[in-house]
Symmetry: C2
Subunit: 254 residues, 2 copies
DNA sequence: TTTTCTTTGTGTAAAATTTACGCATTGAAA
DNA sequence: TTTCAATGCGTAAATTTTACACAAAGAAAA
């Protein structure tokens, strides 16, 4: 294992990292996937390094796949973090110390703990499709409600903040939902997604009118049953039309 | 010189480059600043590397300063280019060959020609304030009309394209002009700037109404004299209000 | 000197978009 | 069987955006 690790890092760019803010949506809450580092109480975003024969975008996709099992997912670069000191919470020395207890003295020397810039990506994934998987480096991988995210390692809190800003910018020009919601969903569910991301309320009649005007939704003949009160219709995204709307753009003007 | 160069690169991140798309505006045309590499007919964007004790943003500002003499200028990161092979126009081998003729065999070994990702920044500067300055590496530095930009080294044509896209996105939410126009300017000049960036025409009455609604412009008692036909009023940006508008954002809705 | 002609300065009406809101219907829960 | 919160659908008001006309300035032409 240790040997493989060294091999891996020999094949990567050392001064460049990739970190992914993976957003999910469940029970009306926006969530991010975080990893807990072995031997510490420190959490971080899933990240990694770029293989020498791999583009940054491919690397981000690989990392997303490793952590969630999902490919072909909406994934977008949003900012590159290039501060001189990106350690918060723990200093570099403190973190190193803790990790050496778990992984052995000198194990990380020259591998991770040098100055790196990190390219931030955010991804939108379908909550139910993800089986969060820790790796050799971490002993836990799970969803956190955005509001409950603790103080993270490095500058990862800032990364999440900026990713959310980028997502909010994104949702104003592109449709959102294809990767965040299950295949079939109701209009109130879609509305709640938008309301959660933008942290405000919309009039449901105007919301429906606007979203339908994008011509990306297919209204099904089914209704969600067993739910309280009047059962709402189910909708599904028309994949082709959705993709076309991603290219041409839409104006979420509410 | 050669020794200083090596010293410099010893103090920088080697796998990360910074490239700046520096936009200027003159005579109704949008321009970018390009450098011609010694011993080649290849042009590129001004760029450089990050010093070990310097943030990426500081590095971009330093590069901008080195090339234009300007500081405190609007400068924004817009994308990080991470393709495996970023050589176009010339291949890595061809470029190396040409440069070795000028700079001597082996001079660049291990310094520049390894795989790097590049963080792209775009800057908006006041054309008249800039005295383009080539460096030891280049023998010419000058403005190019955006439409006339030739095939550039590396992926720099793509960088300019994406920078323009980012600028067009930017202008929809933030006021533009403070750094691109001289201190005093006329409303038609400001309008031409917007028209050039967005590559479309606006009704001058609606344009004036909208821009004045931002409450960032100060109408002066002077007029531009000596110009053909009716002399237009001069305006100037209110720096404080302009900066406030940059923070709160504006909606350029035309 | 006078006339011409392009450019600028200003205001108002029409069109389109966005927002506000009413009421009937459904179906689980009381 | 009744209640009641949530859903489905449509219309009016408010706001924003777009379209457009005419007078005035001043350099250039006659």
């Amino acid at each position: 294992m240790e040997h493989n690790l060294r091999d891996y890092f020999e094949k990567t760019l050392k001064e460049v990292a990739i970190d992914c803010v993976i957003f999910g949506f469940h029970a009306g809450e926006l969530k991010v996937l975080l990893l807990k580092w072995k031997g510490t109480d420190g959490w971080s975003l899933p990240g990694g390094h770029i293989l020498l024969d791999e583009s940054a975008n491919d690397a981000a996709n690989r990392i997303l796949m490793e952590r969630t099992g999902l490919g072909e997912i909406f994934l977008q670069q949003y900012y590159t973090f290039g501060a001189v000191n990106r350690y918060t919470h723990y200093s570099e020395a403190e973190l190193l110390e803790k990790l050496e207890i778990t992984f052995g003295k000198g194990f990380f020397e020259g591998i991770i703990f040098r100055r790196t810039v990190s390219i931030g990506y955010f991804a939108l994934v379908e909550f139910d499709q993800v089986s969060p998987a820790p790796d050799w480096f971490t002993d836990e991988c799970r969803w956190w409600n955005l509001a409950d995210v603790p103080a993270l390692l490095f500058d990862h809190n800032e990364m999440i903040e900026r990713a959310l800003t980028a997502l909010r910018q994104h949702i104003r020009n592109q449709p959102v939902g294809y990767n965040l919601l299950p295949e079939k969903f109701t209009m109130p569910e879609l509305q709640r997604l938008y309301e959660t991301i933008l942290d405000r309320q919309f009039d449901r009649r105007n919301f429906q009118k606007l979203l339908m005007s994008y011509d990306i939704l297919e209204k099904l003949d089914e209704k969600r049953v067993g739910v309280a009160n009047k059962s709402p219709f189910l909708y599904r995204f028309d994949k082709l039309k959705y993709e076309r709307a991603m290219e041409t753009g839409v104006a979420f003007s509410m």
